[in-house]
Symmetry: C2
Subunit: 414 residues, 2 copies
Amino acid sequence: MGRLVMKFGGTSVAGVDQIRTAAQHVGREVAAGHQVAVVVSAMAGQTDMLAGLAREAAPMHDAREYDAILASGEQVTAGLMAIVLQEQGIPARSWTGWQVPVHTDGVHAAARITSIDAEQMRKRLEQGQVAVVTGFQGLGPDQRVTTLGRGGSDTSAVAIAAALEANCDIYSDVDGIYTSDPRIVEQAHKLARISYEEMLELASLGAKVLQTRSVELAMVYGVQLRVRSSFEAADAPLDDDNGPGTLVCDEEDIVEQQVVSGITYSKDEAQISLRRVKDKPGVSAAIFGPLAEADISVDMIVQNVSADGETANLTFTLATKDLARALEVLDGAKDKIGFNEMTHATGVAKVSVIGIGMRSHAGVASRMFKALAEKGINIQLITTSEIKISVLIDAAYTELAVRVLHSAYDLDKA
Amino acid sequence: MGRLVMKFGGTSVAGVDQIRTAAQHVGREVAAGHQVAVVVSAMAGQTDMLAGLAREAAPMHDAREYDAILASGEQVTAGLMAIVLQEQGIPARSWTGWQVPVHTDGVHAAARITSIDAEQMRKRLEQGQVAVVTGFQGLGPDQRVTTLGRGGSDTSAVAIAAALEANCDIYSDVDGIYTSDPRIVEQAHKLARISYEEMLELASLGAKVLQTRSVELAMVYGVQLRVRSSFEAADAPLDDDNGPGTLVCDEEDIVEQQVVSGITYSKDEAQISLRRVKDKPGVSAAIFGPLAEADISVDMIVQNVSADGETANLTFTLATKDLARALEVLDGAKDKIGFNEMTHATGVAKVSVIGIGMRSHAGVASRMFKALAEKGINIQLITTSEIKISVLIDAAYTELAVRVLHSAYDLDKA
C-alpha cells in the first residue's frame, strides 16, 4: 500500500503497444491498492527528432523555443497513457509540468526543479485517479516551459516521488543493475540491491540506466528507487525475495555487502599530457578554466612533480569527440599556462571498480593492480575516490581487464 | 502601419524550409512597420498522425486526453517559427494557447473561444517582438488544454486579430478565392474581393480555404480577412491595386459587385426520400432527431405535399459515407415517423451559385434553370437561400453544369 511513482522511459512507451504493456504494470500496482503517479518520457527517438528540427531551424537557437518544441514529446505519451489506462478501466488523467505545477529555475534546456506543488495531484490520487505526468519538463519563473536536459524524466520521477512521499520504480528496457556489462562478462549478474553512492558512481561513469541527478535527489530525499524492466510480463512471478529488478537504497539496508559491487568501463576516452608545467598557484585554473568555458568535460586528472622538482607533469582524460577542440583551446592558452610540451593519445579506456565496501576493506586497490599485472595489462593512470578505483589502459585490453577484475573480486556467480 | 495577424496553415509550415519561406512573409510585414502576431497550424499530416495514435490507444477516448495529445503539434511549429524568425534577425517568441491565455469553453475537441486576454502579448508586440501563437487550441475552464476542432487555427487567428484590433492574413497553399474550381473551369479567375456572407456560403459548401466559424467571427467583429498564398515569393510584385490574394470584407466595401460571385459543387452526395409521410406536427423532428443523435449531418431538405393532400414526400441529401448508417437509423424509427416507402440514390451532385447580388437582382434562379435545361441537365432538387441557389443533379453532369453556369453568369474572363 502507499504511494508509488512509476517511471517509463522512451523504449517503454515507444508505441501504443508498448504503452499498453506499461499500463498493465500500472494496473497491477493499482490493484494492489497503491496510489499511483506515472511519469513518462517521450516515445523513443522523438526527442532526437524534435531536437533535429530545432537545429535545422538554426544551429544556435533560443533555448526557450527549444524547450517549447521538445516538451511536446512527453505530452503525447502522457495523453496516450491516460487513454490506455482508462481503456483498461483505471481512472487516469494526464498532467503537464505546468499543470502540476513542477516549478524549475530559468536555465532553459538544463533546468533544475525548485519545488513541486503536488496538492491538486495528491487530491486526485486520494480519489483513486492515476496521475500521468510528463517527465523532463517544468514551468520556469517566466511562466514558460523548461526542460531538464537529457534523462531528465528520471529526475522528474524522483522529485515527484519526494513531493508525494512515495517510492519510485524506474521502468526501462533493462531489468536491473548488473555487476558488469553482460555483453562482455558472461558471469555478470543482477544485483538485488545497490547503495545510492555506488549507483551515483555508476551513473556518472555512463551507465545509462539512471540519470546522475535523479540518484542524488533520491539519496538526499531518501526516495527508495527500484530499477526494473517494463518488458517483463506484468504478472511474472518474482525470482527472489528481493522483488524484481534492483533496489537502490541506503547502504545500511544492504545486508550482505560485497567489497566490490561492479566493474564498469568507458572506451571513448582520449588523454592529454602537459609536460613541465610551471608548478605555481593558479596553473590548474589556467588549464581547466578555458576548457570549461569551451564546454569540454575532463574526467581523470593526475598531476605529479617532475624530476627537476620545479615543474609538474599533468595528464587528464576527456571524451575523444572533444579532443581536437581541447588541443586547440590549450594551444591558444599556452603562454598563460606555460608548459613545455603537449602530447595526446587516443585508443585508451577507463576501467573502474566500484564498491562501498572499499571504505572498510584494505587491499582492494592492490588486488586490482595485481590482477591486471598478471595479464600483462599496463596501467597508464590511476585515480581513486572513496568507493571507486579507476585505471586508464590500452583500449584493446578493455574486455580482458573487465573479465579479469570481475573474477578477481568474486563477482562471477552461477 | 498597425497590427497584423498572419496565419499559416499546415502545408505552409510542413517543414523547416516552408517555415523559412513563411518567415520571409513575416519579415516583409515587420519591415513595413507592422506589429505582427503569427498564428501557426501543426505541420501538414501531424494532426492526423496524432489523432491516429489516440484512436490506436482506444477507438472511443477521453476528449481531454485527445486535446492534450493534439495540441502538441502546434507547439512544435510555433517554436520552430520563433527560431527561424530570430535567425532572420526578427525578435520573436512562441506563445501557447494557455500562455496567452486563449480562454475557451469546456467542450473538448470542439471548444469555442470565450475570451482572449491579449494584454501580455500586446505589450511584447509594442516592444517590437513578433508573437508566434499556436493555433487550434486554448485553455478550458478546468485549466486543461482544449482544441477547437478541425480548421480551428483559422478561428484562432481571427479571434486573436479581433482581440488585437488587427487585420488578418490567412496564408495557405491557395492564392485566393476563385469564381469556381480552376481544375474544372479553365476561365475561373481569382476574386479581388468577396463579402463575408458569400465566403460563409462557400466555406459551408466545403471550400477548404477558410473554416466557417472563422468567417462568422470575422464578420461579427469586423476583422478584415485576406486569403493569400505562402508559396509566392515574399517580395513578389502585386498583380493589381487590390493587393495579393482575395480580400474578405463587408459588402459595402465591394464596389463592382457581380450578381453571382462563384459556382461551387459537391460530388459525394447521396439522397434519401421518404414517401407518404404522415403530415402531422413533429414529424420532421421524428426524422431528423435520430439522425442528429447519430451525428449524421443532412444538407438540402425538400418537403412537399403529395397528391392525396394528407401525406408529404420528404427528400434530403447527406454525405455518401453516412448513407448506410442513416438508412439503418430511419428504418429503426419507421413506426415513430410513419412513412410508406423509403428510397435512396447515390451518384448525385450538388451545384450552387452564390452571390450577394441576388438580393437585388431578379431572374437569377431562372437564368440557372434555363442554362441547365439547354444542356439537358435534369434538376432533381432545388433549395435556395438569400444569396445561394443549389440544385441536385446527376453527378455525371457536374463539370458540364459548373462550366455552363460559369458562362451563364458572365464569370468567364480573359
